[in-house]
Subunit: 201 residues, 2 copies
Amino acid sequence: MTTHQYDERLHNLLRTAADVFAEQGYHATSMRDLAKATGMSLAGMYYYVRCKDELLYQVQERCFLSVLEGARRALEASTDPGDRIDRVIRHHVTFFTEHMSEMKVLSHEADSLTKERQDSINQLKKEYVTLLAQLIGDAQGDAAKVDSHVAAYALFGMMNWIYTWYDPAGRVKPAQLAEQFSELFLQGIKSPTAPALRHGG
Amino acid sequence: MTTHQYDERLHNLLRTAADVFAEQGYHATSMRDLAKATGMSLAGMYYYVRCKDELLYQVQERCFLSVLEGARRALEASTDPGDRIDRVIRHHVTFFTEHMSEMKVLSHEADSLTKERQDSINQLKKEYVTLLAQLIGDAQGDAAKVDSHVAAYALFGMMNWIYTWYDPAGRVKPAQLAEQFSELFLQGIKSPTAPALRHGG
């Protein structure tokens, strides 16, 4: 098997595992269920992961690494604070509208990993929160009214909650969704009676 | 048993069930586990609910009814669109920082109910989303840049995600959290370089 084949099969295993975990829950899923869903043999799966916990870990780790790497790449193209936030929002939303199962698994199965693997995932989460909080701090400058970490978690909530309601094939396309989230997060819904606008904004 | 005693015991049963479901998951929890956690006998619990599914339903239903009723009450005091959104945000955040287990259960166990009960809960959810979307539509007026339903779900995401990260006993108090979410949703993080401000806001 070439490295390319190895990577492709592992990739397929992880995506299918994410779908099955999202559909029926991690604890209710057996390696046998996953063999059936992937069309792989049990021995074939154990060639890639030692156990179900490692599989869940790899789903979560790959997902966070991809999204972090993509966010960093998206940031390289701009130095404008508002624009940088916009870029990260677009990247995150686009990525996860294509990975809704992974998003549900990251949210519902965060506590299902063994302690050590959970710590390792939490480290990646922390990196991502810190990155967002820094961008938000830069964009708010000295006039900050909202705590950067609160704002970062608010933004993650806004974006990650979509697995509960959003249909990428529906009326609002992923690119539009990202645009609207960006508008909302940077500008608010701009109530004409909200304080800043009432007082001459 | 008086009606008051009945209500109080049912209330305690539902709160404890929410804690246990949040901690170990609905499917992994037996009525026996719940008897142990509540200190009630199995027969005592079956006096209140016919089965575990009904218990999960009652946890979810009570929670949505309370939060909807509270939101409507909060709205009575004001006719100003921005202020009305602010009131609903404060009510929702305050309610759920006191009901973090229920919040996790509402999110993780939405699919665990039988079809008919799920439909009934979805009806309540829809009412709440519609209420929020109307408020947002009123606040945005004709200048609406963000779809009211997208904005409503974004707001729910921002507020509901807190069960994954927020500690009510930590640095940011619930009232402050609500205030910051309200500021963020109505005004955005107000990047000094964001378009509306760059062009003379």
